[in-house]
Amino acid sequence: MADILFTQGPDELKRAPLAHLHRRLEEVSQSAPSTIRLGERPFTTQIGLRAVPGTAAHRALAGALGVELPARVGEVTGDAADVAVLWLGPDEFLVVAPPERAELVPRLQDALGSEPGQVVDLSANRTIVELGGSAARDVLDKGSPADLHPRVFPAGTAVTTTLGPAAVLLWRTAEDAWRVLPRASFAEYTALWLLDAVREHRLPASDGASDAAPDAAADPASASTPDSREEAAWPATMA
């Protein structure tokens, strides 16, 4: 039995926290892509850093990373498409990088050496749910207490907050592009919350329109698309 494990590398054993929901996230994106898109960006390299600004540790980490560490709440340094650093607290930061950049962990650990501070591989801690489209901010405003208006939350801003009752990192990478980072154990909840919140922005599935007609004729008050009938079952699983 152990042979099975040894014939597969770690990459084959990886399971995205939202793998079972990819199809439904994709369906949202296909329905009205300019209005709302959903998807998962799993397996990113994420590294927790602790270092007090102004110390040798802080300078060493920034130097090894090649990216300045953010100095204040909301600030994101680096490049969202490559290596970015999010502000979590006055002396706490999160590096988010592509999956193939796992070498950053030992590199940063070496740079920190014995200075006071911390470098921890947190790659499995959070997944990234990507939310895009012109309605994305409306969707997030339903469940986030943070002020997401561009005047205080422009592209390139990230904060730790809540979405619904779940703690998440909320990161705006462009005017109409957001990343929601729930912990892996809250990923399914967060994705289901978003699938519910985006429903009003989805277009009725055009390929199923003819199937919906008999229902609508029989009971106009509860006219529903095949799409909404399919989703009607899932809130029970969240309770």
Binding site: V73, E92, P145, T160
Partner: protein, 104 residues
Amino acid sequence: MMLIPCPHCGPRNETEFAYGGQAHVSYPEDPHALDDAAWARHLFYRENPKGLFAERWVHSAGCRRWFNAVRNTITYEVQSVEPIGPRPPGGRPAESTTSEGGHA
């Protein structure tokens, strides 16, 4: 809904915070000198002023840092905040101190 000004994150929604009770309650300098009544006073007795009150909050769903705030318990206005530290904030009202422990 209150907006609480975290000293690190700025004004954020009350739901992101947790309350930590009265601020600046110092550990007794000589714990062995306290009898049971004095211990009870140190552990359980807290001010309950009508007006300004120095208290602790933690931004648990944000930067996860503790900080001190002076809040008006009548109006809920947060008069001042400062990061956690040994020194009471300047705006701390004298009547919100406890009788034991003193202040560093």
